[in-house]
Protein backbone atom coordinates (compact mmCIF):
# COMPACT_ATOMS: atom_id res chain seq x y z
CA UNK A 1 0.00 0.00 0.00
CA UNK A 2 1.23 3.44 -0.91
CA UNK A 3 0.61 4.73 2.60
CA UNK A 4 3.27 2.37 3.94
CA UNK A 5 5.87 3.49 1.46
CA UNK A 6 8.61 5.53 3.15
CA UNK A 7 8.38 9.17 2.02
CA UNK A 8 12.18 9.41 1.74
CA UNK A 9 14.10 6.54 0.24
CA UNK A 10 17.79 5.84 -0.10
CA UNK A 11 19.02 4.33 -3.38
CA UNK A 12 22.47 3.17 -4.35
CA UNK A 13 23.82 6.66 -5.12
CA UNK A 14 21.05 9.06 -4.29
CA UNK A 15 17.68 9.58 -2.63
CA UNK A 16 14.08 10.08 -3.65
CA UNK A 17 11.14 11.81 -1.96
CA UNK A 18 7.60 10.46 -2.31
CA UNK A 19 4.88 12.79 -1.14
CA UNK A 20 1.23 13.05 -2.11
CA UNK A 21 0.12 16.12 -4.06
CA UNK A 22 -1.49 17.50 -0.89
CA UNK A 23 1.66 16.97 1.15
CA UNK A 24 3.83 18.65 -1.49
CA UNK A 25 1.41 21.53 -1.71
CA UNK A 26 1.43 22.03 2.06
CA UNK A 27 5.21 21.91 2.14
CA UNK A 28 5.58 24.39 -0.70
CA UNK A 29 3.12 26.73 0.95
CA UNK A 30 4.98 26.60 4.25
CA UNK A 31 8.28 27.18 2.46
CA UNK A 32 6.83 30.17 0.59
CA UNK A 33 5.76 31.67 3.89
CA UNK A 34 9.18 31.01 5.36
CA UNK A 35 10.82 32.84 2.45
CA UNK A 36 8.44 35.75 2.91
CA UNK A 37 9.22 35.91 6.62
CA UNK A 38 12.98 35.53 6.14
CA UNK A 39 13.14 38.24 3.51
CA UNK A 40 11.02 40.77 5.41
CA UNK A 41 12.48 40.25 8.89
CA UNK A 42 16.20 40.45 8.46
CA UNK A 43 17.37 43.34 10.59
CA UNK A 44 17.97 43.37 14.30
CA UNK A 45 16.01 46.54 14.94
CA UNK A 46 12.55 46.17 16.42
CA UNK A 47 10.21 46.59 13.44
CA UNK A 48 7.42 49.12 13.67
CA UNK A 49 4.90 46.98 11.81
CA UNK A 50 3.22 44.72 14.41
CA UNK A 51 3.02 41.83 11.95
CA UNK A 52 6.76 42.05 11.26
CA UNK A 53 7.45 42.24 14.99
CA UNK A 54 5.34 39.11 15.47
CA UNK A 55 7.09 37.27 12.67
CA UNK A 56 10.41 38.31 14.18
CA UNK A 57 9.38 36.50 17.36
CA UNK A 58 8.31 33.47 15.38
CA UNK A 59 11.69 33.30 13.66
CA UNK A 60 13.65 33.86 16.88
CA UNK A 61 14.55 30.20 17.28
CA UNK A 62 16.31 30.30 13.89
CA UNK A 63 18.71 32.98 15.11
CA UNK A 64 19.84 32.01 18.60
CA UNK A 65 22.57 33.87 20.51
CA UNK A 66 26.11 32.64 19.90
CA UNK A 67 27.87 33.62 23.12
CA UNK A 68 26.97 32.35 26.59
CA UNK A 69 27.14 35.14 29.16
CA UNK A 70 26.74 37.99 26.67
CA UNK A 71 23.99 39.44 28.85
CA UNK A 72 26.41 40.10 31.74
CA UNK A 73 29.84 40.49 30.11
CA UNK A 74 30.35 43.64 27.97
CA UNK A 75 33.14 42.01 25.93
CA UNK A 76 30.94 39.02 25.12
CA UNK A 77 28.04 41.36 24.40
CA UNK A 78 30.23 43.07 21.81
CA UNK A 79 31.20 39.74 20.25
CA UNK A 80 27.55 38.69 20.24
CA UNK A 81 26.55 41.86 18.46
CA UNK A 82 29.28 41.36 15.89
CA UNK A 83 28.23 37.73 15.35
CA UNK A 84 24.61 38.72 14.80
CA UNK A 85 25.63 41.59 12.53
CA UNK A 86 27.87 39.44 10.35
CA UNK A 87 26.33 35.98 10.54
CA UNK A 88 22.60 36.60 10.63
CA UNK A 89 22.50 37.49 6.95
CA UNK A 90 24.68 34.44 6.24
CA UNK A 91 22.13 32.30 8.04
CA UNK A 92 19.28 33.88 6.09
CA UNK A 93 21.05 33.29 2.78
CA UNK A 94 21.91 29.72 3.75
CA UNK A 95 18.26 29.00 4.58
CA UNK A 96 17.00 30.62 1.39
CA UNK A 97 19.45 28.51 -0.65
CA UNK A 98 18.24 25.34 1.09
CA UNK A 99 14.61 26.26 0.49
CA UNK A 100 15.35 26.94 -3.16
CA UNK A 101 16.81 23.43 -3.47
CA UNK A 102 13.72 21.93 -1.86
CA UNK A 103 11.33 23.90 -4.05
CA UNK A 104 13.16 22.72 -7.13
CA UNK A 105 13.04 19.10 -5.93
CA UNK A 106 9.33 19.24 -5.14
CA UNK A 107 8.25 20.99 -8.32
CA UNK A 108 10.43 18.85 -10.60
CA UNK A 109 10.47 15.48 -8.84
CA UNK A 110 13.74 13.68 -9.39
CA UNK A 111 16.40 11.91 -7.40
CA UNK A 112 18.35 14.01 -4.91
CA UNK A 113 22.02 13.97 -4.05
CA UNK A 114 23.04 13.78 -0.39
CA UNK A 115 23.73 17.56 -0.14
CA UNK A 116 20.29 18.21 -1.66
CA UNK A 117 18.61 15.90 0.84
CA UNK A 118 20.52 17.61 3.66
CA UNK A 119 19.17 20.95 2.39
CA UNK A 120 15.70 19.36 2.45
CA UNK A 121 16.30 18.17 6.02
CA UNK A 122 17.48 21.62 7.16
CA UNK A 123 14.44 23.30 5.64
CA UNK A 124 12.02 20.83 7.21
CA UNK A 125 13.70 21.35 10.56
CA UNK A 126 13.58 25.14 10.22
CA UNK A 127 9.84 24.94 9.54
CA UNK A 128 9.41 22.74 12.64
CA UNK A 129 11.28 25.31 14.73
CA UNK A 130 8.96 28.10 13.59
CA UNK A 131 5.78 26.04 14.02
CA UNK A 132 7.02 24.72 17.38
CA UNK A 133 7.62 28.31 18.50
CA UNK A 134 4.11 29.36 17.47
CA UNK A 135 2.62 26.28 19.16
CA UNK A 136 4.75 26.97 22.24
CA UNK A 137 6.04 23.43 22.37
CA UNK A 138 7.71 23.17 25.75
CA UNK A 139 7.97 19.47 26.52
CA UNK A 140 10.20 17.12 24.60
CA UNK A 141 9.07 14.08 26.58
CA UNK A 142 11.23 11.88 28.74
CA UNK A 143 11.43 8.78 26.67
CA UNK A 144 14.69 8.84 24.69
CA UNK A 145 13.53 5.87 22.66
CA UNK A 146 10.53 7.76 21.44
CA UNK A 147 12.63 10.37 19.69
CA UNK A 148 9.67 12.49 18.69
CA UNK A 149 8.88 15.71 20.50
CA UNK A 150 5.58 15.56 22.27
CA UNK A 151 3.05 18.31 22.53
CA UNK A 152 2.45 20.04 25.78
CA UNK A 153 -1.06 18.69 26.06
CA UNK A 154 -1.17 15.69 23.83
CA UNK A 155 -2.64 13.26 26.35
CA UNK A 156 -5.85 12.90 24.43
CA UNK A 157 -4.45 13.50 20.94
CA UNK A 158 -5.62 16.34 18.73
CA UNK A 159 -8.44 18.51 19.95
CA UNK A 160 -10.77 19.35 17.04
CA UNK A 161 -11.77 22.56 18.79
CA UNK A 162 -8.19 23.75 19.14
CA UNK A 163 -7.74 26.82 16.91
CA UNK A 164 -4.16 25.67 16.30
CA UNK A 165 -5.16 22.25 15.04
CA UNK A 166 -3.99 23.09 11.50
CA UNK A 167 -0.58 24.11 12.80
CA UNK A 168 -0.45 21.01 14.95
CA UNK A 169 -1.19 18.75 12.01
CA UNK A 170 1.47 20.52 9.93
CA UNK A 171 3.97 20.18 12.80
CA UNK A 172 3.27 16.46 13.13
CA UNK A 173 3.59 16.00 9.38
CA UNK A 174 6.99 17.73 9.41
CA UNK A 175 8.12 15.61 12.38
CA UNK A 176 7.15 12.46 10.50
CA UNK A 177 8.92 13.62 7.35
CA UNK A 178 12.05 14.68 9.24
CA UNK A 179 12.32 11.30 10.97
CA UNK A 180 12.22 9.52 7.63
CA UNK A 181 14.74 11.96 6.15
CA UNK A 182 17.22 11.43 8.98
CA UNK A 183 16.71 7.70 8.71
CA UNK A 184 17.44 7.74 4.97
CA UNK A 185 20.56 9.88 5.44
CA UNK A 186 21.78 7.68 8.27
CA UNK A 187 21.62 4.67 5.99
Amino acid sequence: MAILRPPVRRHRNDFSIHLTADQSELLLRLLDEMVEMLTTVTDREEPLDPALAENRQRLARLFPPAYSGADTDPDLAEREEEYQRLMREELVQSRLASISTVREALTNPRHLSEPQLIAFMQSINALRLVLGTILQITDDGDDPIDGVAEHQDDDSGLDPDDPNIGLQVAYDFLSWLLEWTVQALSG
Binding site: P64, N125, L129, I134
Partner: protein, 114 residues
Protein backbone atom coordinates in the same frame (compact mmCIF):
# COMPACT_ATOMS: atom_id res chain seq x y z
CA UNK B 1 -5.60 34.84 -1.34
CA UNK B 2 -4.93 32.06 1.13
CA UNK B 3 -4.47 32.85 4.77
CA UNK B 4 -0.89 32.26 5.89
CA UNK B 5 -0.34 29.12 7.95
CA UNK B 6 2.44 30.41 10.13
CA UNK B 7 3.25 33.96 9.08
CA UNK B 8 1.58 36.99 10.60
CA UNK B 9 0.25 39.52 8.12
CA UNK B 10 -0.52 43.17 8.54
CA UNK B 11 -3.98 43.58 9.96
CA UNK B 12 -4.34 39.92 10.99
CA UNK B 13 -2.41 39.59 14.18
CA UNK B 14 -3.38 35.98 14.96
CA UNK B 15 -1.36 34.71 17.13
CA UNK B 16 25.19 3.08 8.22
CA UNK B 17 27.85 5.80 8.58
CA UNK B 18 27.45 9.43 8.35
CA UNK B 19 30.20 11.11 6.42
CA UNK B 20 31.33 14.15 8.41
CA UNK B 21 31.65 17.57 6.83
CA UNK B 22 35.06 17.91 8.44
CA UNK B 23 37.50 15.37 9.66
CA UNK B 24 38.46 15.70 13.32
CA UNK B 25 41.42 18.05 13.49
CA UNK B 26 40.61 19.88 10.25
CA UNK B 27 39.81 22.94 12.28
CA UNK B 28 42.39 22.45 14.98
CA UNK B 29 39.94 21.06 17.50
CA UNK B 30 42.65 19.03 19.17
CA UNK B 31 42.76 20.38 22.74
CA UNK B 32 46.54 19.90 22.72
CA UNK B 33 46.73 22.62 20.10
CA UNK B 34 45.55 25.25 22.55
CA UNK B 35 48.23 27.53 23.90
CA UNK B 36 48.28 28.48 27.54
CA UNK B 37 47.44 32.16 27.07
CA UNK B 38 44.61 31.34 24.71
CA UNK B 39 42.28 29.22 26.80
CA UNK B 40 40.07 27.19 24.50
CA UNK B 41 36.52 28.14 23.73
CA UNK B 42 33.94 25.43 24.32
CA UNK B 43 31.01 24.87 21.98
CA UNK B 44 27.84 23.94 23.86
CA UNK B 45 24.61 22.47 22.51
CA UNK B 46 21.57 23.21 24.68
CA UNK B 47 18.44 21.17 25.16
CA UNK B 48 15.39 22.41 23.34
CA UNK B 49 11.94 20.90 23.18
CA UNK B 50 11.53 21.00 19.41
CA UNK B 51 14.53 19.35 17.79
CA UNK B 52 14.15 15.61 17.32
CA UNK B 53 16.66 13.41 19.10
CA UNK B 54 17.43 11.50 15.92
CA UNK B 55 18.04 14.79 14.12
CA UNK B 56 20.41 16.11 16.80
CA UNK B 57 22.33 12.83 16.75
CA UNK B 58 22.67 12.95 12.97
CA UNK B 59 23.85 16.59 12.98
CA UNK B 60 26.50 15.84 15.63
CA UNK B 61 27.75 12.95 13.52
CA UNK B 62 27.75 15.04 10.37
CA UNK B 63 29.42 18.15 11.74
CA UNK B 64 31.93 16.63 14.13
CA UNK B 65 32.59 13.19 12.70
CA UNK B 66 31.40 11.45 15.85
CA UNK B 67 30.46 7.79 15.77
CA UNK B 68 26.77 6.99 16.20
CA UNK B 69 27.53 5.87 19.77
CA UNK B 70 29.39 9.08 20.68
CA UNK B 71 26.80 11.32 19.01
CA UNK B 72 23.98 9.47 20.80
CA UNK B 73 25.81 9.83 24.11
CA UNK B 74 26.18 13.60 23.58
CA UNK B 75 22.55 13.94 22.47
CA UNK B 76 21.37 12.13 25.61
CA UNK B 77 23.61 14.36 27.74
CA UNK B 78 21.96 17.39 26.15
CA UNK B 79 18.53 15.87 26.75
CA UNK B 80 19.12 14.85 30.37
CA UNK B 81 21.54 17.50 31.66
CA UNK B 82 20.38 20.42 29.58
CA UNK B 83 23.59 20.88 27.62
CA UNK B 84 26.74 19.17 26.38
CA UNK B 85 30.14 20.38 25.20
CA UNK B 86 30.54 19.11 21.65
CA UNK B 87 33.79 20.77 20.55
CA UNK B 88 36.48 23.22 21.58
CA UNK B 89 39.08 25.34 19.90
CA UNK B 90 40.10 28.95 19.52
CA UNK B 91 37.39 31.59 19.32
CA UNK B 92 37.17 31.70 15.53
CA UNK B 93 36.88 27.92 15.32
CA UNK B 94 34.27 27.82 18.07
CA UNK B 95 32.26 30.59 16.43
CA UNK B 96 32.38 28.79 13.10
CA UNK B 97 31.03 25.63 14.70
CA UNK B 98 28.31 27.59 16.44
CA UNK B 99 27.35 29.00 13.04
CA UNK B 100 27.21 25.53 11.48
CA UNK B 101 25.05 24.32 14.37
CA UNK B 102 22.78 27.36 14.00
CA UNK B 103 22.55 26.60 10.31
CA UNK B 104 21.15 23.21 11.29
CA UNK B 105 18.73 24.77 13.78
CA UNK B 106 20.44 23.59 16.94
CA UNK B 107 20.59 25.87 19.93
CA UNK B 108 24.36 26.30 20.35
CA UNK B 109 26.61 28.83 22.04
CA UNK B 110 30.29 29.11 22.81
CA UNK B 111 32.03 30.20 25.98
CA UNK B 112 35.57 30.64 27.17
CA UNK B 113 36.69 27.52 29.02
CA UNK B 114 37.20 28.08 32.74
Amino acid sequence: MMRPIMGATSGTSTPTEVRPDYLPGDLGLDPDASVEEDRPWVVLVWNDPINLMSYVTYVLQKLFGHSLEKATELMLQVHREGRAAVAEGNREQAEMYVFRLHEHGLWATCQHDR
